[in-house]
């Protein structure tokens, strides 16, 4: 018998141990990204995983013969289950309701398989070394592997490889250990099994490698490079590409690659989008209309007031479904989408406004993505604003998000002028939202009005106070209305899309 295979087997122990801990960390990270509440998720995953390893160790007692063959088979099984764990979880996540049903059994399965590894390996080695040395070395290496994994994971793997690639990579490591084992343990395996095992081993490596390469184009991996943080959700709806990322500072939502909010400062944006409309309303607003805003964050602010009903019209059912069911978003919007006063309608707001027979509203919040294409540009035209006006009560107020008056100054003032030309009285204002920059809005009414000085929110706000409310209607020299002539945005010129493209092009790398 060759003695020199023993040090190599110990190396395998270290690799197996690293892989095992990586899978555990991956599962905990994915679930805390996806479901929020990382303490619970880490705690649950560690508990389930360790207990599953215990079950695996116990089950190893039932395996009698062909231990080397069994060991290699288990390695390959771990490779598949662990290697595909992260991609599988992200895929499953697209169908939210099944996530838990898949997630915990998967963690348990990986745990059981990993739990089988070390006991089996120790029994294979027991004839080569005395028991004292065996236990000492195997366990020492097991713990060293864990250390390597826990250090590598946050410092190198998550930031540089991303969750999917880490998962697939360590799957390949496991498979490599299995395949390598067919040579190291050759003398312990029946020759007829040997060939089959090697074929299986190569197949598993190949499948994982394919996954590794394919995933680059199929899943969100290609997008990883575009975003600073980890992608925890990515899905193409018929209307747009929705990506949610999670980083140190929190969650961010991107539509077609454009940042919609970042959780660390979105309250600034949404408080400014909602509260001035209530402040400028002289009565008791009951019926609220939100156009766009499928993330439910503007809705969260609206529901701070004792309103009777809210209609939220957002194009994309995938987006509103996410806002209703995706834990991280639910947490951010304080479950506002499930409020009984809220009715969600998934339709293009332009088409909805032209067809709806709803009674007029007291307040409208208009929160569309920036006008970077013609389909969005139509939502900023005189036609659209006239339709909106016809659906507002005479004393109603509305706020329209108007893009950045700093980066796209002409676009901002074009929207303001278009609103004026549609018969609105307009008070433009701006606030600083660090993840966006200086951001602009328009407060409008169908009748002349004073800039509001008093907030009416029932509770204190995180950002807005009455001093800020006064100053945000001031424009600095680089954001005020420019001298040059600005056209009004109409359906038949869509001039805003052209302004916006020109202005934002200055900031693109292409």
């Amino acid at each position: 018998m060759k003695k020199n295979f023993i040090p190599l087997l110990f190396l395998n122990v270290a690799i197996i141990a690293t892989c095992g801990l990586i899978y555990e960390l991956l599962a905990a990270t994915v679930s805390s990204y996806v479901l929020g509440d990382s303490i619970t998720q880490f705690s649950l995953v560690i508990g389930i995983y360790l207990s599953a390893m215990g079950v695996g160790s116990w089950l190893s007692g039932f395996l009698e013969d062909n231990l080397a063959k069994r060991f290699i088979e288990i390695e390959l099984a771990v490779a598949i289950a662990g290697g595909f764990s992260a991609p599988l979880l992200f895929l499953v996540f697209a169908h939210l309701s099944y996530f838990n049903l898949i997630f915990y059994p998967l963690v348990f399965l990986i745990g059981v398989l990993v739990g089988l590894e070390i006991p089996l390996l120790m029994r294979i080695l027991k004839n080569e070394l005395d028991f004292k040395k065996l236990v000492a070395r195997v366990l020492a290496l097991d713990y060293v592997g864990a250390l390597v994994a826990s250090v590598l994971f946050p410092i190198f793997l998550v930031p540089y490889m991303g969750l999917n690639r880490t998962s697939l990579f360590f799957g390949m490591m496991n498979a490599a250990v299995g395949l390598w084992g067919t040579w190291l343990l050759e003398h312990l395996i029946k020759p007829k099994d040997l060939t089959i095992l090697r074929i299986k081993g190569f197949a598993v490596v190949l499948v994982l490698l394919t996954g590794f390469i394919k995933a680059d184009s199929l899943t969100a991996l290609a997008e990883d490079a575009l975003y600073a943080d980890n992608i925890i959700f990515a899905k193409s709806s018929p209307y747009q590409r929705i990506v949610i990322t999670k980083g140190k500072a929190g969650y961010a939502l991107y539509l077609n690659g454009n940042l919609q909010f970042h959780s660390f400062d979105e309250y600034r944006y949404h408080e400014a989008l909602v509260h001035p409309a209530f402040a400028a309303h002289n009565g008791n607003p009951q019926r609220i209309l939100i156009l766009g805003g499928g993330d439910g964050l503007a809705l969260r602010e609206v529901l701070k007031y004792p309103v009777k009903s809210v209609i939220l019209v957002d194009l994309d059912p995938v987006m509103t479904h996410l806002a209703t069911h995706f834990p991280a978003l639910k947490m951010l919007n304080e479950n506002s989408m499930s409020d009984s006063r809220v009715q969600v309608i998934n339709q293009d707001a332009f088409v909805w406004l032209s067809e709806t027979e709803e009674e007029p509203f007291d307040i409208a919040i208009v929160d569309f993505p920036d006008p970077n294409n013609f389909a969005l540009g139509k939502l900023y035209t005189t036609r659209f604003y006239k339709l909106l006006k016809s659906k507002l009560k005479p004393d109603a107020t509305a706020i329209i998000q108007c893009t950045s008056p700093l980066i796209s100054r002409k676009s901002f003032w074009c929207i303001v002028k278009t609103l004026q030309s549609s018969g609105f009285f307009v008070e433009p204002f701006n606030v600083t939202v660090p993840s966006f920059g200086v951001w602009g809005y328009a407060l409008v009414k169908s009748e002349p009005f004073e800039i509001p000085t008093k907030l009416k929110a029932p509770t204190a706000l995180r950002f807005l106070n009455e001093e800020t409310l006064k100053t945000m209607f001031q424009f600095s020299n680089d954001t005020s209305e420019p001298e040059e002539e600005i056209e009004i945005n109409r359906l038949n010129n869509q001039i805003l899309v052209r302004y916006y493209e020109d202005e934002w092009q200055r900031f693109e790398h292409q």
């Binding site: 032209s354 389909a375 540009g377 139509k378 036609r383 109409r490 359906l491 038949n492 869509q494 899309v497």
Partner: protein, 535 residues
């Protein structure tokens, strides 16, 4: 019978022979050939005798023959002036002629004409119509009408597909060389010259309706040469300018550049621009195209309209005119005794219908030539995916540079429906070959569908998986052809003259097929008749 290869080569040109064979993918697409009652329409050619029983006779002061835009305009005008004793007879089960439209649960869609440039203030009767339809928002200081935004063609209006990509606009700017730029600039100068040109009585060279155009010999000279020859005489050589002008001719007249009168070519570019340097008048359009006008007319005159009525013979008598028609619903011949007839069917049909013309055909009728078209409505479950991020997006009018078709119009564009299912209306004028009409009618639905999808496949690789249904309308006599010499011909002048109480009213009489012209002739005939009757 032809092979597929021959059909595609004839209809789409050589490059399409390279297209991959997608015939099997048509199997899952539904659809049919719809519209124009060819069989009944051609019945009058073979049946010389019509027996009308006594209880199938009635009297009406006026009979209008034909329910296209000209006939409907005449009816609308009569009704508006308080005259009600008339009947309008239309062969088809559907009103509207080449302006008819269809509708599904998503949108209306055109079967032919699909826009109207905003008229100048001088065209006051047409503006009255627009006003009545509640399309007008106000007037400018100069008195020009301002049309409500939702009825003006929404941007993006046009795009052109060239070598794998879509570009904004109809004129292809990408890759143009210095000569192209110079030619385009000089072409614009020529157009500007004609826009600003006035004759001794201050008449424009080109305006709408054609009746108001100057008849100065200097302008009329243009009708004597083809648009292509005119371009060459002016020293133009840019390929893309020639394409652009050729497209304009095919689009507006169903003719190729070398067949079109230079007068008609320049008319297209000049008649809708107020003065040089200004934009062309914007387009009024609706999802169902000019079907919206048809609907409006019909809502006003419905009780006077009789559909499925094939006028077989018009017999001018001493003190009346007898109009014999076949009621297609009960296969009975009926007769109306009238004082006046407005003949608003295509003018060439007069030789088969008016008794005196049957016996002794006026030679000028031979000069009225029509071209054939087919129009297809494609029902898509979703819109084609852009092949490049920066591709110019789906527009109202979508043109394929290297195709003999005119491309397609997106019916949902004007409604602001920018996602999901839609309807494309695809236009194909049969001007590539001489016997276009015969060729068109020799092809089956499947063969025409093959042509359409092979054409569109070049720009939209996913078209086969998106199209659920294709309905095809064949227009045997779609538009009058303003060939060289026709617009200013004696034939046209003669055809406009009333004949024994029959007043002719069809866009044919202008030499160009346009809504404005049909409307002009319809309302003109109504006015003539009304003033005769009051006398």
């Amino acid at each position: 019978m032809w092979t597929r290869r021959e059909i595609l080569k004839a209809f789409l040109g050589l490059p399409f022979l390279m297209a991959c064979d997608n015939r099997s993918k048509i199997e899952n697409i539904a659809g049919e050939i719809v519209g124009a009652d060819v069989l009944n329409g051609h019945k009058i050619l073979s049946n010389p005798l019509f027996e009308v029983s006594n209880n199938n006779r009635e009297r009406k002061t006026v009979v209008i023959v034909g329910g296209g835009v000209s006939g409907l305009s005449a009816a609308w005008k009569l009704k508006r002036d308080g005259f009600n004793d008339f009947i309008l007879l239309e062969l088809e089960p559907k009103i509207g002629g080449t302006s008819q439209s269809g509708e599904n649960e998503l949108t209306g869609y055109p079967w032919g004409a699909h826009y109207l440039p905003v008229p100048f203030k001088e065209n006051s009767l047409l503006i009255t119509l627009l006003d009545e339809m509640n399309l007008i928002e106000g007037r400018t200081d100069e008195g020009e009408v301002i049309i409500k935004e939702e009825f003006l063609c929404r941007q993006p209006e046009e795009r052109v597909f060239y070598k794998g990509r879509w570009y904004e606009g109809l004129y292809l700017h990408v890759g143009e060389n210095d000569q192209d730029k110079i030619d385009l600039e000089n072409f614009q100068k020529e157009i500007d010259f004609w826009i600003d040109w006035r004759d001794s009585s201050a008449k424009r060279a080109f305006t709408l309706p054609v009746a108001n155009c100057s008849e100065d010999a200097f302008v009329n000279e243009l009708d004597k040469i083809s648009f292509e020859d005119w371009l060459r005489q002016k020293g133009f050589s840019s390929e893309r300018l020639f394409w652009y002008c050729d497209y304009a001719c095919r689009d507006d007249y169903g003719l190729k550049l070398h067949e079109t009168s230079a007068w008609a070519g320049l008319f297209y570019f000049c008649s809708r621009v107020r003065k040089s340097g200004e934009e062309s008048q914007p387009f009024i359009t609706f999802p169902e195209g000019n079907g919206r006008f048809v609907k409006h007319f019909y809502s006003k005159v419905k009780e006077n309209v009789k559909l499925k009525s094939l006028v077989c013979e018009i017999i001018p008598k001493e003190d009346s005119i007898e109009v014999v028609y076949l009621d297609i619903s009960d296969k009975k011949y009926r007769l109306v005794e009238a004082q006046k007839v407005i003949f608003s069917a295509p003018i060439f049909t007069a030789k088969h219908i008016i008794r005196d013309f049957k016996e002794n055909m006026p030679s000028y009728l031979k000069e009225f030539e029509h071209n054939a078209w087919f129009v297809a409505n494609l029902f898509l479950k979703d819109r084609p995916k852009p092949r490049f991020n920066r591709d110019f997006p789906l527009s109202w009018d979508n043109v394929i540079y290297e195709s003999p078709s005119l491309g397609y119009v997106c019916a949902t564009h004007q409604s602001g429906i920018d996602y999901g299912a839609t309807v494309f209306t695809y236009y194909y004028p049969m001007c590539a070959e001489k016997d276009g009409r015969a060729k068109l009618f020799s092809l089956s639905w499947k063969e025409l569908t093959d042509i359409i999808l092979t054409d569109l496949w070049r720009a939209h690789r996913d078209i086969y998986s998106l199209v659920e249904r294709i309905d095809i309308m064949r227009w045997g006599h779609a538009m009058i052809s303003p060939r060289v010499g026709f617009v200013r011909s004696e034939a046209l002048k003669k055809a406009k003259k009333p004949y024994r109480g029959i007043h002719f009213a069809n866009t044919d009489l202008s030499g160009v097929a346009l809504f404005e012209e049909a409307f002009y002739h319809g309302t003109r005939a109504a006015e003539e008749i009304w003033s005769d009757l009051r006398r």
